[in-house]
C-alpha cells in the first residue's frame, strides 16, 4: 500500500513545480466559470418559465372572457408546457439548447404544432457551451496528459531519475503515489466549485455523489492509461513529448473519432422518415376534411373514440365537434410516420449508448446528462408529456362538445393544467 508519508513527500515536492500549480489554478478557475455560467443559465431558464406562466395565464383569461362556446374557447386558448431544468442541469446542459424545453399548444392537430421549436441561437449551439460536463469530459483528459506524460522522462531529463529510483523503497509505488497526488489535486480543483454549485442549486445528495464518482472514475481511467503507456517497455525509448503524442492519439480516438465515426454509421443504419413528410401528411388529412363528406371524418375519428358514435349528427355545415374530430383524424393519419420518426430518435440514442461503452469520455458524458436529465431520453420524455397533456385536453373538451353542454366560463376552471408532475408519473 501507499503510505501517507509517501503522499506527503510527493505533495511537498510537486507544489514547488510552477507549471503544476498553474495548471491546478487554471482548472479551478475554469470549473468556477463553468459552474457559474451553468447556474446563471438554469436560473434564467427557470425565470423564463415563471414569466411565461404568468403571461400565458393573463393571455388566456383575456381570451376566455370573450368566448361564447367551448369550441371557441379550445381554439383560442393556448396552454404552456415546459420542462424545468433539474437541479443538476447547470453542470451538464446536454441537449437543452437543441431540443425545446418550452412549448405552447392548443387543441388543434398536435402533429402540426409539436415540431415548432423555440431553440437557442444556432451559432451558440454549434459552438457548444462551456459547462462542467465539457470540462470533465473533454478537458480533464488533456490536463491529465499534460500532468502525467513526463512523470518518468521528466525526471530522467532533470537527471534525478536514477537517484529517485534507487532511493525509493518501491519504484512502482513512487510513480503511482506521484500520479495519485497530481490527479487528486486536479479532482479537488474541479470538484470544489461543482460541489458548491450543486449545494446552491439544491441538488440531491445521490445525484451529487454520482456526479462526483463519475468525475473521479474518468480521472482514474486517464491516470491509469497514462501510467500504463508510460511503463510500456516498447515505448521506453520515446521522449516525454512523444509519449504525450501517443496519449493524445487515445484522446483523439475517444473524444473525436469514435463519436463522429459511429454517429455517421448510426445515421446511415437507422431509417427515419423525414420530418417534412409528417407535417405534409398531417396537413393534407386535416384540410381534405373540409371537402370530404362528414362521414369520412367520423369514420376515422370513431376508430379511436367509439363512445361518441351516436352523437355525430350535424345541424349545420360547421360544428366544433366535427372540427376537432378532423383535427384528431389528421393526427391519426400521421401517427405512423410520427411514431417512426420518434422511434428512430430513440433507436439512434440506444445505439449511441452501446457505442459509448467504447469511449470513456462519451460514457461519462452520457451518464452525466442522464443524471442531470438533459439527455435525449429526458428531452423525448418531455415531448411525450406534451402529447399526454394534449390528449388530456381532448378528453376534457370532447364531452362538452359532443354532449352540447351549455357554455359557462366557470366550467373552464376545470381545464387540465400542465405541470411537470404529469411527466414524473409516467
Amino acid at each position: 500500500m501507499i503510505s501517507f508519508s509517501d503522499i506527503k513527500r510527493e505533495a511537498r515536492f510537486l507544489v514547488r513545480q510552477r507549471h503544476i500549480a498553474f495548471l491546478m489554478i487554471l482548472s479551478f478557475a475554469l470549473s468556477v466559470f463553468a459552474v457559474w455560467s451553468g447556474i446563471a443559465e438554469t436560473r434564467a431558464q427557470s425565470a423564463t418559465i415563471e414569466r411565461l406562466l404568468e403571461k400565458n395565464d393573463v393571455d388566456r383569461q383575456g381570451v376566455l372572457a370573450k368566448q361564447k362556446n367551448y369550441g371557441g374557447a379550445a381554439y383560442y386558448s393556448f396552454h404552456l408546457t415546459y420542462a424545468q431544468p433539474s437541479s443538476l442541469a447547470f453542470a451538464a446542459m446536454g441537449q437543452r439548447d437543441v431540443f425545446p424545453w418550452k412549448h405552447r399548444i392548443r387543441m388543434l392537430a398536435l402533429e402540426g404544432q409539436i415540431y415548432e421549436t423555440d431553440a437557442d441561437n444556432p451559432e451558440l449551439s454549434l459552438q457548444g457551451r462551456f459547462d462542467f460536463a465539457f470540462l470533465a469530459v473533454v478537458l480533464l483528459p488533456l490536463f491529465i496528459i499534460l500532468l502525467l506524460h513526463d512523470l518518468r522522462s521528466g525526471e530522467r531529463a532533470a537527471g534525478r531519475y536514477d537517484l529517485l529510483v534507487v532511493t525509493a523503497a518501491n519504484e512502482r509505488k513512487l510513480w503511482l503515489s506521484r500520479a495519485i497526488v497530481l490527479c487528486s489535486s486536479l479532482a479537488v480543483a474541479v470538484l470544489v466549485p461543482f460541489l458548491i454549485g450543486a449545494a446552491i442549486s439544491g441538488a440531491s445528495l445521490q445525484g451529487i455523489l454520482f456526479f462526483t464518482l463519475l468525475v473521479l472514475a474518468h480521472i482514474a481511467f486517464w491516470m491509469l492509461l497514462s501510467l500504463y503507456i508510460g511503463k510500456l517497455k516498447s515505448l521506453s525509448a520515446l521522449s516525454s513529448a512523444q509519449l504525450a503524442s501517443v496519449l493524445l492519439a487515445f484522446w483523439l480516438s475517444f473524444a473525436v473519432l469514435i463519436p463522429v465515426g459511429s454517429d455517421t454509421i448510426i445515421d446511415e443504419v437507422v431509417e427515419s422518415p423525414s420530418g417534412g413528410q409528417i407535417v405534409l401528411t398531417q396537413r393534407e388529412a386535416v384540410n381534405d376534411a373540409w371537402d370530404l363528406p362528414f362521414s369520412a371524418t367520423w369514420d376515422e375519428f370513431l376508430k379511436t373514440h367509439p363512445e361518441w358514435a351516436d352523437k355525430t349528427n350535424m345541424n349545420s355545415q360547421f360544428e366544433w365537434k366535427w372540427y376537432y374530430a378532423f383535427q384528431q383524424a389528421g393526427d391519426q393519419k400521421a401517427a405512423n410516420l410520427s411514431t417512426a420518426y420518434r422511434e428512430a430518435t430513440q433507436k439512434k440514442d440506444a445505439l449511441a449508448g452501446w457505442v459509448a461503452l467504447l469511449s470513456p469520455p462519451m460514457l461519462t458524458q452520457r451518464l452525466m446528462t442522464s443524471i442531470a436529465e438533459t439527455d435525449i431520453q429526458a428531452m423525448t420524455a418531455y415531448e411525450q408529456c406534451i402529447r399526454d397533456y394534449h390528449a388530456s385536453l381532448r378528453e376534457y373538451y370532447y364531452p362538452l362538445l359532443f354532449n352540447d353542454v351549455e357554455f359557462s366560463v366557470d366550467q373552464l376552471k376545470w381545464v387540465p393544467e400542465y405541470s411537470s408532475a404529469i411527466c414524473d408519473n409516467t
Binding site: Q95, L126, Q127, W290
Partner: protein, 477 residues
C-alpha cells in the same frame, strides 16, 4: 533562396525518416478526405430531399380543388431551405436550425426539424465536417510535427553549428516555416478540392478562393506559432507542453467560453416569450376574420365613401376580402417588427462570440468560414425573411381573389347549407398565385464584404505571430 529550400527539404526528409511526422500526416489526410466525402454526400442527400419536398409542397398547393380562398390561406404552404454549395465543407449552423417552415395566414411559424434533433447526440463536441477538422484538429497535427523543429536542432547541438557556419537566422526560420506550411497545405488539399467543386456547382469563384485563402492564413498562423514556441523553448518537452497548452486555450477553451459569455451577456427572450408581446400588439389591430370588428369601422366608412355606397352589400368588392387583406398587412407589419428585433438579438449574440476572434484565431476562421459559405445565422435569417415574403405574397394574393372574385352575399351565406357552401368557392385556377421558392444565400460579393472583419482578425493574428517569430529569432544561437 536556395538555402531556405534546402532547410525545408531537410525538414521533410526528417519527417519521412522519423515516421512520426509521416504517420501524423497520413492519418490527418485520411480523416480529412473521409470527412470531405461523407459530408459532401450527406449534404447532397439533404439538398435533394429538401428539393423534392419543396416540389411536393408546391404541387400539392396547385392540386387543391375549388375552395373558398380563405381556406387556402389556412391550408398554407411549406418551404424548405436548400443548403448552400460550400456547406459540403462548412455545414455551419445547418444542422442546428430548422430546415422547413409552415407558412399560413396570420402567423409566422418557427423553423422545424433541426437535424441535430434527429442525431445520435454524439457530435456536440466534434463533428466530421471538414471545417471542424481544419479549425481544431489541423493545428494539433501541425503542433505534433512541428513542436521539435527548432528544439531538436538545439538539443542535438546542430543549431549552434549552423549559426556558426554563418547561416542567416531568417533563412533558417523561413525554411522551417515553409516546411510546416507545406504539411499544412497537404492537409488543406482535400478541402481546397471540395471548395473548387463547390465553385463548379455554382458557388462564386471569388468566394471559394477567399474561403481557401482564409484557411491558408489560419494554417500560417499555427505554423508560425508552433515554430515560435519551438524557437523560444530550450527543450522539446517544454516546447510540446507549451504549444499544447496554447492549442487547448485557443482552439477549445476560448470558443466555448465565448459561447457561454455571449449567452449570458446578451440574453435572448426566445420566440415564445416575444410572441406574447406580439399578441399584445395584435389585439389592438382587430380580428381579420370578423369584418364586424369595431377596429374596421374606419376602413368601412372610407370604402363606402369611395364607392358612394349605402351599405357593404352594395360595394363592388367583397368587404370581407378587403378586411382580410387590410388586417393581414397590418398584422404582418407588427410580426415583422418583432421578428426583426428577435433576429437582431441573435445577431448581437453571435457578434459577441465573433469578437472573441481577436482572442482566438479559431473563432476568427470559423466566423469567416461560415460567413463565406453562407451557413451562418444571418443566412438562416435570410431564409426566414424570404419565407416571410413568400407567405405575405400568396396570402395577400388569395385575399385579393377573395375581395374581387367572391360575391359578398354568397360569402356571408356560406355556412347555411351544403349548396351555399359550394357556391362560396373560387376556381382552383387561382392557386397559381403561389410562386416557386428557391432559397439562395446572399450573393458572393456581399458575403465577401461581410467577412472583412474576420479577415482583419486573421490578418492581425498573422502579424502577431510574425512579430513573435521575429522576437524569438534573437534566441537562435
Amino acid at each position: 533562396m536556395k538555402v531556405i529550400t534546402q532547410i525545408m527539404l531537410d525538414e521533410w526528409r526528417y519527417w519521412l525518416r522519423s515516421k512520426l511526422g509521416i504517420t501524423v500526416l497520413a492519418i490527418t489526410l485520411v480523416i480529412t478526405i473521409a470527412a470531405v466525402i461523407v459530408n459532401a454526400m450527406e449534404m447532397r442527400q439533404a439538398a435533394e430531399e429538401r428539393q423534392t419536398l419543396q416540389k411536393t409542397a408546391e404541387a400539392r398547393f396547385l392540386e387543391q380543388p375549388d375552395r373558398h380562398p380563405h381556406r387556402m390561406v389556412h391550408y398554407g404552404h411549406y418551404v424548405f431551405r436548400a443548403p448552400s454549395p460550400l456547406s459540403i465543407v462548412e455545414p455551419g449552423v445547418d444542422a442546428y436550425t430548422g430546415t422547413s417552415i409552415f407558412l399560413e395566414g396570420h402567423r409566422q411559424n418557427s423553423a422545424m426539424f433541426a437535424e441535430q434533433r434527429q442525431s445520435s447526440g454524439m457530435t456536440r463536441f466534434s463533428s466530421l465536417s471538414p471545417s471542424f477538422l481544419m479549425q481544431v484538429l489541423a493545428p494539433l497535427f501541425i503542433l505534433l510535427i512541428g513542436y521539435a523543429s527548432m528544439t531538436r536542432e538545439r538539443e542535438a547541438g546542430t543549431l549552434s553549428i549552423m549559426v556558426l557556419q554563418g547561416l542567416s537566422r531568417w533563412h533558417l526560420l523561413l525554411g522551417k516555416l515553409l516546411a510546416l506550411m507545406g504539411a499544412g497545405l497537404v492537409i488543406l488539399l482535400p478541402l481546397s478540392i471540395a471548395s473548387i467543386g463547390a465553385a463548379l456547382q455554382g458557388e462564386s469563384a471569388l468566394v471559394s478562393a477567399g474561403f481557401i485563402l482564409g484557411y491558408f492564413l489560419y494554417l500560417l498562423v499555427w505554423s508560425a506559432l508552433v515554430l515560435a514556441v519551438s524557437t523560444m523553448s530550450s527543450k522539446s518537452n517544454s516546447s510540446f507542453a507549451v504549444s499544447l497548452g496554447i492549442w487547448l486555450l485557443l482552439c477549445i477553451l476560448i470558443p466555448r467560453i465565448g459561447s457561454s459569455v455571449a449567452a449570458t451577456v446578451e440574453p435572448s427572450l426566445g420566440k415564445l416569450e416575444s410572441d406574447f408581446a406580439v399578441l399584445e400588439a395584435l389585439r389592438k389591430l382587430g380580428d381579420g376574420h370578423n369584418a364586424a370588428d369595431p377596429a374596421f369601422e374606419q376602413l368601412k366608412k372610407n370604402l363606402l365613401a369611395q364607392y358612394d355606397a349605402e351599405s357593404v352589400d352594395e360595394l363592388p368588392v367583397n368587404f370581407r376580402g378587403v378586411v382580410a387583406e387590410y388586417s393581414e398587412k397590418k398584422l404582418t407589419n407588427v410580426l415583422n417588427q418583432f421578428a426583426e428585433a428577435r433576429m437582431e438579438e441573435e445577431r448581437s449574440q453571435a457578434n459577441v462570440l465573433r469578437n472573441f476572434g481577436w482572442l482566438s484565431p479559431t473563432i476568427a476562421v470559423r466566423s469567416l468560414s461560415m460567413m463565406m459559405a453562407g451557413t451562418n445565422v444571418e443566412t438562416h435569417h435570410r431564409f426566414l425573411r424570404d419565407a416571410e415574403t413568400l407567405r405575405f405574397d400568396f396570402v395577400q394574393s388569395l385575399n385579393q381573389i377573395h375581395r374581387d372574385h367572391l360575391d359578398y352575399k354568397t360569402d356571408m351565406a356560406r355556412s347555411k347549407s351544403k349548396a351555399s357552401s359550394l357556391a362560396a368557392r373560387v376556381s382552383s385556377d387561382n392557386w397559381s398565385v403561389l410562386s416557386e421558392f428557391e432559397f439562395k444565400p446572399e450573393p458572393g460579393t456581399q458575403r465577401l464584404e461581410n467577412s472583412l472583419p474576420y479577415i482583419a482578425q486573421l490578418l492581425l493574428w498573422c502579424v502577431l505571430v510574425m512579430v513573435m517569430l521575429k522576437y524569438t529569432m534573437r534566441r537562435v544561437q
